[in-house]
């Protein structure tokens, strides 16, 4: 499986270093990294995928580092979705795309996750009227996937309109939209801003950023040595340049004049640095003279490194030409992603230049994170191909378990209303919910939350049932269609069967048969009193005889069930016997 190998190697690269920390300074902190063709910077908002949750979590990266054992970690300050804090919102109706920033102190504020749990960037804009916040433009608002203006105190469990000066050790200015420089906002927004920067004195901006970051560093007990931090950065920059000069000039030459032309037109000294693929020589040379390279450098780097081969020129050119026009630049900034995907052969999916669909984006990254199977990444739509494979653990089983108490019952109700609930059966009854999720993931290439229905005395021993909540109605329908038309064979000759989950909800409590109620208080047997407790009935009482009737009935039905299951088992055995391949 050649494809599997390819998809296993998720592109990853550290970009900008910060200081070191830890006891022996063995922990390296970073300001940015490139993961799977997307550059993430400190304070970006990202999607984090957690298995068994229908929606990805959203959080802000507030710390990025690599441990001595090379494991990569990010500290994430969480956003809450309105549904997660429903209880505290009361009757208020909140727009679906409003988020609440975690604040205060306590569980759910922020935590450390493996970097690989990041599923994609998320464009979150602060719409707080606070004067510290630079107000977003209409266009920005329109493009934002989510907005926030309020916080949710995880300690006091209160929603507040205020954004404190410090949240989880982070200064408020990193939480608000950055004035003039949207460095810390999503990729989509960066483009136009860069131009502004260039027109103004972007050097100042950079310096401010640096200093604020440094103060923050010191304040967040990582005891980072500021000097060292700067040295690191310088070192990195130099190293970066050296390698750039040496690399792959042929391809860069094609671009460089064009870029240069464009850039010169707008303001000139704009340096392009590329980390591995191409370097633009002339401009790189001039880099050393410039201090304002930082942001543009990063920006362009991202684009070029994600787009490969010939696409490069197009992308670059379209990007630079369309600078200032947000819409166009948005397309440009998206295109390289999809192209690089195509090129690396990992996902055949049309990525529309719309970032609104968070789910799409999110699933996309998920699909690519799929390590064990090439299949999830190859065909997403209905072109089923026929294969056998072993079900392994779904990837990305990340560790953030702090939100485990989401009541399943509520989610089922909600999912059914939205048509996302599917009942699967003919499963081996001994499967666990987790295994069902894995099966759905591998078999249908869909993420879901599953719950095996617990066996009772009247459950069939031949067929296990599970409720599965898919992310969307479409996903549920697609899954059902595939299961209906195709044939997903589980071990022991069990083709998976599914239907729309149509549990009828107990609107009113139906009566439970068999417990008699007596209205008359004068009844010889004082039932009210007795009914309140439990007891073993003795043979000399009225209820004993009545109970014997129940025993009889129960016994008869037990027999009937046994017979039914036996007969069903027989039928199944016969039919399975004719299967060629078990």
């Amino acid at each position: 499986m050649g494809e599997a190998d390819q998809s296993e190697k998720l592109e990853f690269k550290w970009c900008k270093k910060r200081g070191v920390g830890g006891k022996n300074k063995e922990v390296q902190f970073y300001e940015s990294f490139n993961f799977d063709g997307v550059e993430y910077t400190l304070y970006d908002s990202v999607y984090l995928y957690k298995e068994s949750e229908p929606e990805p979590f959203i959080g802000k990266l507030i710390k990025i580092w690599e441990n001595p054992d090379k494991s990569k970690r990010v500290k994430v300050l969480w956003f809450f979705r309105p549904c997660e804090i429903q209880n505290y919102l009361g009757a208020e109706r909140v727009p679906e795309n409003e988020l609440f920033l975690a604040s205060g102190e306590g569980k759910g504020l922020a935590n450390v996750n493996p970097l690989e749990a990041i599923a994609g960037k998320c464009n979150v804009i602060c719409i707080s009227k606070d004067e510290r916040n630079s107000q977003p433009s209409d266009e920005e608002l329109h493009m934002a996937e989510f907005v926030f203006s309020r916080t949710f105190d995880v300690g006091q469990l209160k929603i507040s309109d205020e954004i404190n000066d410090r949240i989880a050790g982070i200064e408020a200015k990193f939480i608000f939209n950055k004035a003039g420089s949207h460095k810390f906002e999503g990729i989509v927004k960066e483009n136009p801003i860069i131009i502004e920067d260039k027109k103004e004195d972007s050097r100042n901006v950079v310096v401010t950023d640096e200093s604020t970051i440094s103060t923050k560093l010191i304040s967040t007990d990582e005891r980072r040595d500021m000097e060292e931090h700067e040295k690191c950065e310088d070192g990195l920059r130099d190293a970066c340049l050296d390698s750039k000069l040496a690399k792959d000039r042929s391809s860069s030459k094609q671009i460089s004049p064009r870029i240069k032309a464009d850039l010169d037109g707008s303001k000139g000294k704009f340096a392009v640095g590329l980390d591995n693929k191409a370097g633009v020589e002339e401009q790189v040379r001039s880099l050393e003279d410039l201090d304002d390279v930082e942001r543009p450098l990063k920006k362009v780097k991202l684009h070029v490194s994600t787009s490969k081969g010939k696409e490069k020129d197009n992308v670059m050119v379209s990007k630079t030409k369309n600078d200032g026009k947000e819409k166009a630049s948005r397309e440009a900034s998206i295109t390289p992603r999809s192209k690089s995907l195509h090129l690396s052969g990992s996902v055949e999916r049309d990525i529309q230049p719309s970032t609104k669909k968070s789910q799409q984006k999110w699933r996309l990254s998920n699909a690519k994170l799929a390590k064990p199977s090439a299949k999830n990444t190859v065909s997403e739509e209905d072109n089923v191909d026929y294969w056998t494979k072993e079900v392994t653990r779904r990837p990305d089983d990340n560790k953030n378990k702090w939100f485990t108490n989401f009541p399943w019952e509520e989610r089922v109700v909600d999912a059914q209303k939205r048509g996302m609930l599917v009942l699967l059966w003919n499963l081996d009854p001994s499967y666990t919910s987790m295994e069902v999720e894995d099966i759905v993931w591998h078999g249908l290439k869909l993420n879901c939350t599953a719950k095996m229905i617990q066996r009772t005395a009247i459950s069939s021993p031949h067929s296990g049932e599970a409720y599965v909540i898919f992310k969307t109605k479409e996903a549920a329908e697609r899954a059902l269609k595939k299961l209906d038309e195709g044939c997903l064979l589980l071990p022991n000759g069990r083709p998976l069967v599914g239907c729309i989950g149509d549990r009828s909800f107990p609107g009113k409590q139906r009566t439970f048969h068999g417990h008699l109620v007596f209205a008359s208080p004068r009844h010889p047997h004082n039932r009210e009193k007795e009914a309140a407790s439990s007891h073993c009935s003795q043979p000399n009482t009225v209820e004993f005889e009545l109970a014997i009737d129940w025993f009889l009935l129960q016994e008869r039905w037990d027999r009937a069930w046994q017979l039914l299951f036996k007969q069903q088992g027989e039928e199944l055995r016969k039919l399975r016997g004719s299967l060629k391949c078990k």
């Binding site: 191909d385 617990q454 009772t456 031949h462 067929s463 044939c487 083709p495 009828s504 069903q568 039928e571």
Partner: protein, 199 residues
């Protein structure tokens, strides 16, 4: 691997000392259940099995963990098994069975199990059989659902029958009581010249 095997073994121990109870009234809650069984053993945990599929089927099921497998066996066989044991309502007794692995929601994955799945090619002869198996599974589910409906209908019938009989008895008692109370019994006795019962 060792740790998962250990975890599974620990879980199996738990299964062995757990009792499955059903035919419980929907009003039964954990504390009632604890109280009901505490006289026979030490209840360590109670879990209700949520009823997702058949909301018509309102009897509840629960898993009750007691201290030891022996205790569980004793309760199943000697207490609930030999006398009608009633909790929060009469006369329908609750039923107890040893718990099974599949009844637990939090069961761990069986260690070492491998699941292989396969999309069957429509040209494969197995495809037809698999399709048949699917239909069979659907048929079986329908059968079970029908059966359950029948069972519930019978339960309802029995309940109604008993309730009617009791109501009739109740009326008789009230009637007799009334006759004694308002003195008509004594009047009649003296009229027919028989000795009235002293009450």
């Amino acid at each position: 691997m060792d740790s998962t095997a250990e975890e599974y073994a620990a879980f199996m121990e738990r299964v062995k000392r757990t009792i499955y109870l059903d035919n419980l009234s929907p009003q039964v809650n954990e504390s009632i259940l604890r109280k009901a069984l505490d006289q026979y053993g030490t209840v360590k945990g109670v879990q209700f099995i949520p009823n997702y599929t058949e909301s018509k089927f309102t009897a509840r099921c629960a898993l009750v963990e007691v201290e030891s497998p022996q205790q569980a066996q004793m309760i199943i066989e000697e207490v609930i098994g030999s006398y009608p044991f009633m909790i929060l309502g009469m006369p329908r007794p609750v039923r107890a069975r040893p718990a099974e692995v599949e009844m637990f929601d939090d069961r761990p994955v069986k260690p070492g199990r491998k699941i292989k799945i396969r999309w069957v090619d429509p040209n494969d002869p197995d495809f037809q059989i698999a399709q048949k198996l699917k239909r069979l599974a659907q048929k079986h589910a329908a059968e079970a659902s029908f059966m359950l409906k029948q069972q519930l209908a019978e339960e309802e019938k029995l309940a109604k029958q008993q309730s009617d009989a009791l109501k009739a008895n109740n009326e008789k008692y009230t009637l007799i009581e009334g006759v004694m109370a308002d003195g008509s019994a004594r009047l009649l006795a003296s009229y027919y010249n028989v000795k009235a019962l002293e009450d």
